[in-house]
């Protein structure tokens, strides 16, 4: 029984980690607190659904089509909306509040557009919904895929960030955006790239989720908040932290549901989250700023 709980907990956590990593990139490196993050996820869930139901393109192939689109979308949003705010904040230092307000507006726009196009109905389809035996536990193949993708993305990005020159640049911007230009780093370009990358991760999360979760256009905020909780728990801007925190939350939920009471899963999530913050105010892997 414990192995079943561990395996299904890890797989559930994989989904959380997947949606959180994009947000941690966007906040940690681009300094944008993106409240419209969940709407992006939902948008790409609908896109995957549309490709599958209208054109018969399976979500895996859909992913290949949608990811570049997501990158372009993120690139555009940052360029048009965020860049002026970032520039302005060099004087006023108000980027956090400004980005909250602006992305709050963006949230409504994306949601409103989706309402017009997709309506408010629950949407659901099945893809790869077959059981796979992992160490004696039966796991849905689509969830396993999401878990695999999370670990893969987490691993690749972690290696890229720590082992490549490009990664060093990004980390430099994350740690000291003021000083980075001194060593010849184009902060703006790096931030824009990171934001677009984050959008791409959101899209991959959306496509994965669409395979096994029912969604409506109003659900974005649920994902934003779940992602935020994971990001904060792991430490802002820390990819590995997001991965670990996501998996941890999945484990906690599954264990509470199995051994204590399914009614307390979400309470336990927030309890764990709050305790982690009280124990380490900057998250599991975060460094205290003060």
């Amino acid at each position: 029984m414990p192995t079943t709980a561990i395996v299904s907990g890890l797989v559930l956590g994989g989904t959380y980690a997947l949606i959180a990593m994009g947000l941690t990139l966007q906040y940690g490196i681009s300094r944008i607190m993106n409240l419209a993050y969940g709407e992006t996820i939902i948008f790409f869930a609908f896109a995957a659904f549309l490709l599958y139901s209208a054109f018969g393109i399976n979500p895996i192939a859909g992913l290949v089509l949608l990811l570049p689109l997501a990158f372009a979308f993120g690139y555009l949003v940052y360029g048009v909306m965020m860049q002026p705010l970032v520039r302005r904040s060099a004087r006023s230092g108000n980027l956090e509040v400004d980005s909250i307000l602006a992305t709050f507006g963006l949230l409504f726009v994306i949601q409103g557009v989706m309402l017009v196009f997709f309506g408010s109905n629950y949407t659901s389809y099945n893809y790869l919904n077959v059981g796979v035996n992992v160490l004696g536990a039966t796991i849905a193949a689509n969830r396993l895929l999401a878990f695999g993708l999370a670990v893969l993305i987490g691993g690749v990005l972690y290696l890229a960030l720590t082992r490549t020159r490009w990664g060093t640049t990004i980390r430099a911007v994350a740690v000291a955006p003021q000083s980075a230009p001194l060593v010849g780093i184009d902060v703006n370009r790096t931030a824009r790239f990171a934001f677009a990358l984050g959008t791409m991760l959101a899209a991959s999360g959306g496509v994965m989720i669409s395979m096994y979760q029912t969604f409506t256009v109003s659900m974005g905020v649920i994902f934003t908040m779940k992602a935020l909780v994971v990001v904060i728990m792991g430490g802002l801007g820390n990819l590995l932290g997001a991965l670990v925190a996501g998996l941890l939350l999945g484990l906690v939920e599954t264990f509470v549901a199995t051994y204590i009471d399914p009614g307390l899963t979400l309470a336990a999530t927030y309890l764990i989250f709050l305790s982690v913050l009280l124990w380490r105010p900057a998250g599991l892997f975060g460094k205290a700023t003060r």
């Binding site: 307000l101 602006a102 105010p281």
Partner: protein, 319 residues
């Protein structure tokens, strides 16, 4: 001295006029005033703590919901004024516990912590109701009219803004401003940061709890998903930030136009509400970077009117 006296007289007169308004309007007008005053109070109370300390709290709905739920639980056992007292006391206790716990957090960690807190309370209330009392969803059959709710909220709003004014002039206000600008400096000049923050958080949370308690009789039926709706936290925050959270009249000037805007949009564009609202929001951020009040002030001084009004001058550009 004369100016202060005039201000007080003006304030009292305006209050009396506002209290008289419902007699002129039908139920919808009262509903509108009521909703507006509710958000003015929420935003002002929110700004009491979050304005000077720059701690962005998303726990508004936690206290709002606690207030509403207390009324729902006690509506048939206690007389109404006593219920409000109990609600305030519950809110205060929760705020003190939470305040003590959150003092170590800063920045966005605090933001999400408070959000998590609101969700945790909602989950616990749900779990308690389901497993201990065996019901979910409570009924409030109190004979309280819309006008009465409005008057209570109006009084609470006046108290809140009055409190803000008093804090702004007192030693605490000064201490707060230092904390907001730089906590390290504040600590060095001997300010007990923890105590000041805690006191303010508790006051702000108690007022928010009361708003929830006062408004609850209007809905007849209460369940966690209704009273712990996170939208309330977001709207409060947006209104206060938009008006300018570190100014006395800022939250009011953010809440009133925004509330009317929401109302106007939802009355005229029920199908494209979100899109228009979102675009407006983005536009506002770009056009009015410092909040409505700062902009109005700047507009005034440009037109050549006399300078600032009698209010604590906020730190405008610095963060």
């Amino acid at each position: 001295m004369v100016r202060a006296l005039l201000a007080v007289i003006f304030f009292a007169g305006a209050l009396a006029a506002l209290a008289w308004l419902p007699t002129q309007f039908g139920a919808y007008g009262v509903g509108l005033l009521l909703g507006m005053t509710g958000y003015v109070t929420l935003a002002s109370a929110w700004a009491l703590f979050s304005g000077p300390t720059r701690y962005v709290s998303l726990a508004t709905v936690a206290f709002f919901g606690i207030g509403a739920y207390t009324v729902a639980v006690l509506s048939e056992t206690l007389p109404y004024p006593l219920i409000l007292l109990v609600a305030a006391a519950v809110g205060l206790c929760v705020a003190l516990v939470v305040g003590l716990a959150t003092l170590r957090l800063a920045g966005v960690y605090f933001v999400i912590f408070t959000f998590g807190l609101a969700e945790l309370i909602r989950q616990l209330v749900t779990w308690y109701e389901v497993n201990i009392t065996g019901t979910l969803g409570r009924y409030i059959f109190l004979p309280i009219s819309g006008e009465q709710i409005y008057w209570q909220l109006l009084a609470l709003a006046a108290v809140t803004i009055g409190l803000g004014w008093w804090i702004g002039r007192s030693r605490i206000g000064l201490a707060l401003k230092v904390i907001g600008d730089d906590e390290v400096v504040a600590a060095h000049v001997g300010i007990n940061i923890a105590r000041v923050k805690l006191a303010l958080f508790a006051v702000s949370a108690t007022i928010i709890t009361l708003v929830g308690a006062i408004q609850a009789p209007r809905w007849t039926y209460v369940e966690p998903s209704i009273v712990f709706n996170p939208t309330i936290s977001f709207l409060t925050l947006i209104m206060a930030l938009l008006g300018g959270a570190n100014r006395l009249w800022g939250p009011l000037l953010g809440a009133v136009p925004l509330f009317l805007l929401f109302e106007w949009l939802s009355a005229n564009f029920p199908n494209h509400y979100s899109i228009i609202l979102g675009l407006l929001f983005i536009a506002i951020v770009f056009v009015m970077p410092q909040g409505v009040l700062a902009m109005v002030e700047r507009g005034w001084s440009r037109v050549g009117q006399r300078g600032r009004k009698a209010e604590p001058a906020g730190t405008e550009a610095a963060q």
